[in-house]
């Protein structure tokens, strides 16, 4: 069930995109998403399409694999499109009972669909090509300036990386508890969705108890190894910008400039 989710997973590889500094990729994703919402003409979307396809090609992650990640949000997208189609006021194109489909609605719906799709694709390229660890490293050093605003950046990054480390362990544990309960007659398989969800509730108590015990042990182990927060810590793998990262920044700037030029000179 959880294994089918490709969204948010790492796709091992050694492409140029994989080797870029995570901070570059984070900024790139951010710039791309912002551009989707600020430049919303047909030409802008065309440029965004070219950009996305180029990055995907360079990253060597199969396009099919990326599109599979869109599946879980398909329903969300459908609802967004329907709402936009029928709830936007304007000139009616089609009327079904009391619902009016408007011209503005159609335009809006297309915009939303494109934006959502590209948003997901853009952010999945980031997670496909960046290990969770370098992602948190990138966030930690990329957002280091927020320390001055008293945001505990290091602590948040540490929590994220520990959470990522424990996901498979807790999944294993859930599996074990499920089997133990099944052995004593619990039924997780039959019945409707509601019934099955209800059957999961007794799983949560032992799972939480064990998660807290693990947290306690881990805190002790971290303390025993001299952990005392982010101050005075050195890095085993410090992030350093290389030439390819600077070039990537330039490409990014080029993309934004092209979008602005399109907006000024091309009126579609």
């Amino acid at each position: 069930m959880l294994k089918d989710m490709t969204i948010g997973q790492y796709y091992p590889g050694n492409s140029l995109i994989h080797r870029l500094d995570p901070r570059v990729k984070l900024l790139g994703t951010l710039v791309f998403i912002i551009s989707l919402f600020t430049f919303s003409s047909i030409s802008a979307y065309a440029l965004a399409t070219v950009a996305v396809l180029t990055v995907v090609a360079v990253s060597r992650v199969p396009l099919r694999y990326i599109l599979k990640g869109l599946k879980p949000i398909f329903i969300l997208m459908l609802i967004t499109i329907l709402f936009n189609l029928f709830m936007t006021p304007g000139t009616a194109v089609l009327q079904i009972w009391k619902l009016k489909m408007t011209e503005e609605g159609i335009r809006f719906a297309i915009h939303m669909a494109v934006r959502l799709t590209y948003l997901i694709i853009g952010s999945s390229i980031l997670t496909f090509t960046t290990t969770p660890n370098s992602l948190t490293d990138g966030l930690e050093s990329g957002l280091g300036w927020m320390n001055r605003l008293h945001v505990p950046v290091h602590e948040i990054a540490m929590m994220m990386s520990i959470a990522l480390r424990f996901i498979p362990i807790l999944m294993d544990e859930t599996d074990k508890i499920m089997r133990a309960q099944e052995a004593r007659g619990a039924d997780f398989q039959s019945g409707g969705v509601f019934h099955r969800v209800k059957a999961m509730v007794p799983l949560l108590v032992p799972l939480f108890v064990s998660a807290f015990r693990r947290a306690n042990d881990l805190a002790l182990a971290m303390e025993a190894r001299g952990y005392h927060g982010g101050a005075g810590r050195t890095k085993m793998k410090p992030l350093v910008y290389h030439r390819k990262d600077w070039i990537a920044f330039l490409v990014m700037a080029g993309y934004v400039a092209a979008q602005i030029l399109l907006r000024i000179f091309v009126k579609i």
């Binding site: 881990l218 025993a224 190894r225 001299g226 952990y227 050195t234």
Partner: protein, 297 residues
């Protein structure tokens, strides 16, 4: 060099520790004495084993050695530093590294090499030296080939070796292992014990192994047996295991061979006390058989 000439790395005198339970208003409403006047003196380079049943206070003692807990009474010096002094804590944790029971709950990073580097990172070691230390530590425990693996893919014994590497990378003088094999299968247990012995013999790291598996303590220089918060027996493994009955009274098992020898002795077979390995027993039995043959002829 005799062990008495060496420097003491751990000196505990009359240690007591009380767990306090607080009521809702923050007043102490119950207390439990986990340690009742324990004294110990561990010399540099020694291999010490601490045996005891659940609740004997052995884990509490282990946590004192790393300044995770501070004695309620008595004094404890680790590498010459008083554990009650707040400012010594960093140095003590570096001098006496600690390995815990559950391998999953002490590995912090999702890549083996990054976990080994966690301790040095906390100590503020420069990047280049961290790599140097990580390489040495992972090689010492035989996990260098797995440096880029995820800990989730490793066996229990391998995970525990990674945890040991994480401690070695901090260049400790002493490693305290709190039941490191309790959750492992026999293969993993042997792996971990072999690694620990190796470190003790080749690198001269002091080892304090806390366990309730008797087979693991036969290589120790000295064994301390704990029960109800006190040290009840102390000596070489042979001395301790020659007292089968006393060990059984505090619900500890002796190694299978030792017990077999003890029972044979009860039935009148003239065997010496404290036999620890199968080889020793067969040798002794051979001697007796030869003796019988000689007498018969």
């Amino acid at each position: 060099m005799k062990s008495s000439d060496r420097r003491s790395i751990i000196e505990g005198h009359d240690l007591t520790y009380e767990y306090l339970h607080y009521d809702d208003d923050g007043n102490v409403d119950a207390s439990y004495r986990a340690l009742k006047g324990v004294s110990l003196d561990v010399k540099e380079g020694q291999f010490i084993a601490i045996l005891g049943h659940n609740g004997s206070g052995k884990s509490t003692l282990a946590r004192q050695l790393n300044a995770l807990l501070v004695p309620s009474g008595g004094t404890l010096f680790v590498d010459g530093l008083d554990t009650r002094e707040e400012k010594n804590v960093g140095a003590i944790r570096q001098a006496a590294g600690m390995v815990f029971q559950n391998p999953d709950n002490q590995i912090i990073a999702s890549v083996v090499e990054e976990d080994a580097g966690f301790g040095p990172e906390n100590m503020g070691v420069p990047t280049k030296e961290i790599w140097e230390r990580v390489r040495k530590a992972l090689k010492a425990v035989g996990m260098w080939e797995y440096r880029e693996s995820s800990p989730n893919r490793l066996s229990g014994g391998q995970k525990q070796r990674v945890a040991i590497a994480g401690v070695i990378a901090m260049k400790p003088k002493c490693i305290v292992l709190d039941e490191p094999t309790a959750m492992l299968d026999p293969g993993g247990r042997a792996e971990v014990i072999r690694t620990v012995r190796e470190l003790n013999r080749t690198d001269g790291i002091t080892v304090i192994l806390i366990t309730h598996y008797m087979e693991e303590v036969i290589y120790a220089d000295r064994v301390l047996v704990m029960d109800e918060g006190a040290v009840v027996m102390s000596g070489t493994p042979r001395e301790v295991f020659s007292n089968v009955r006393a060990l059984k009274e505090i619900r500890l098992d002796v190694p299978f061979v030792t017990e077999l020898a003890d029972r044979l002795k009860e039935r009148g077979v003239p065997l010496p006390d404290g036999i620890l390995t199968v080889e020793e027993l067969t040798e002794e039995l051979e001697k007796i058989r030869h003796g019988d043959q000689n007498r018969a002829s």
